[in-house]
Point group: C2
Chain length 348, copies 2
Amino acid sequence: MLTPELKNCRFLKAARREATDTTPIWIMRQAGRYLPEYMSVRRKVTFIELCKSPELAAEVTLTAQRVLGVDAAILFADLLPMLVPMGLDLEYAKGEGPIIHNPLQSAADVDRIQELEELGSLHFVFEAVQRIRRDLPANIPLLGFAGAPFTLASYAIEGGSSKNYLNTKSIMYSDSGAWRTLMERLSRSLIRYLNAQIEAGCQAVQLFDSWAGCLSPADYRAYVLPYTKMVIDGILPGTPVINFLTGNPALLPLLREAGGTVIGLDWRVDLADGWKTVGYDVAVQGNLDPVSLMADLPTLKRRAKAVLDGAGGRPGHIFNLGHGVFPEVPPDHVKALVEMVHEMGRNG
Amino acid sequence: MLTPELKNCRFLKAARREATDTTPIWIMRQAGRYLPEYMSVRRKVTFIELCKSPELAAEVTLTAQRVLGVDAAILFADLLPMLVPMGLDLEYAKGEGPIIHNPLQSAADVDRIQELEELGSLHFVFEAVQRIRRDLPANIPLLGFAGAPFTLASYAIEGGSSKNYLNTKSIMYSDSGAWRTLMERLSRSLIRYLNAQIEAGCQAVQLFDSWAGCLSPADYRAYVLPYTKMVIDGILPGTPVINFLTGNPALLPLLREAGGTVIGLDWRVDLADGWKTVGYDVAVQGNLDPVSLMADLPTLKRRAKAVLDGAGGRPGHIFNLGHGVFPEVPPDHVKALVEMVHEMGRNG
């Protein structure tokens, strides 16, 4: 049950497409390497140690929300640890990003993936959620998140990030049975994982389909949409889901079809066009080009205004970047952006 | 002046949206590492030695066309050597891709870029064109190409390929004067370079905007479209231009606005939707997902048929991949694809 403060907070009102006093904003990867407060924690622990420490994960989550003055906190966590109890051997190599040492190299390997039944080994995630919720301001919602089924499948198959998704698409094209098995196991696991985040204290969840932009609309429809839809349909009723995909505006009508209370737009589409495409009967989140934060403040303001103008004052817009904030960005620019949006987004 | 054989070849008829006996096809990067005949040449010389040898560049160009039976040859060359006489210090490091040792790191650096006036140092390109044209079958057109202004600018600024184009966009956003200077010098240089390819014997040219998909429509319109248009408008009259961009279907209306006889579509959009978007009064090229070539032949055939079905038998479709062919692809699959398209694309 939501408290009245949360029920009437800017973020959740906008997700319901109700009018708000100003446009709510949060920033993807807001607790990240651009922020000195985050870096001072990271100097003491590795990335995965930080993810696994409920105390430190809560600290960086809370600090980012407080320092920036954003309208939502997002759990500090990573997309991939949920794959470990499913049978994958994950390592965060120094300066190299995540590596899976036993990727699914063929359709036959798919049977190695176990559905996530028992969530005990991911307890650090839910404990972090509890701590954050306890210490967050009463009117600030906490967002949980996970990778969407395609993005997780491509990590599991490629063993890391990929340029062309050769192995993923090869399995997808050549063995639809193995693909379905993999995507179903991931989807059922995601439902449990996300619902456990909600039960621990999250007010909304975001699905990140960070790699699905490499797909044609026909392939997304055949091989991805049913599973993303399965996950969204399985989320506890009443909890908003932000359905976010990056890299291909031609998929937006299908993203909408897959579901979600809020559709996340990347910056490759003009916000006005993107909202028109997904329909005004759904809220949207986005979509400033993250590189805008490298520009001088007058330029940043002009670019933020263009995004707000694209929304045209219509209730249901949650301001965000079109992708995560870069480590190179001056933290003062992020703070300034939050103030600008609150100022320029004010109604009446 | 075109010979009658060339004037009536499949490729050029399709570029004029005239009916053809079957759908013409060629493959981006058809003279590439997947092809054993190419690799046997590459074992003797480095990539840049191959680019700079008119004899060997002609050999790999001609061999690929002959072995595959495609309806066009494309000059074997690279996007970047034209930047060398413009003042950039280019190296092809072994296994690393191109590196520019003196990239444009700030707006002030832009003045280091000299416009390409004298083409003598690129003579190897035009000599390759002459050799290829001399030895190509009389009914096979030769395509020249170059990088589009944005793609060249981003190489010149980032010093190589880039994930997020931080430096490029930073200059673009913060110093519109420097950006204009850079893009104008590149555009005027491109006009001379492409027209010299045409004068040496190319029947059409393709502009590759391989990296422009990182831009929002508003940024493409403000910072890129005028320069791509300048290049296309400067091409010798009567020569078809293929205007190709990858990575963002939301830019297609603007790509069309920039010009071109043929609009190149990547695989992120369904061909039928892409053609409708750019308009039926222009020809289109594309757009099979290149990973399709990794699949078994029945799957490949089904996927090629879906692209042909998207074109719906309308004159003006040139079959291609949505991007270059991967080195991992079995050469027999590429040959089979050419046969399939010629067979399935047959009219009447």
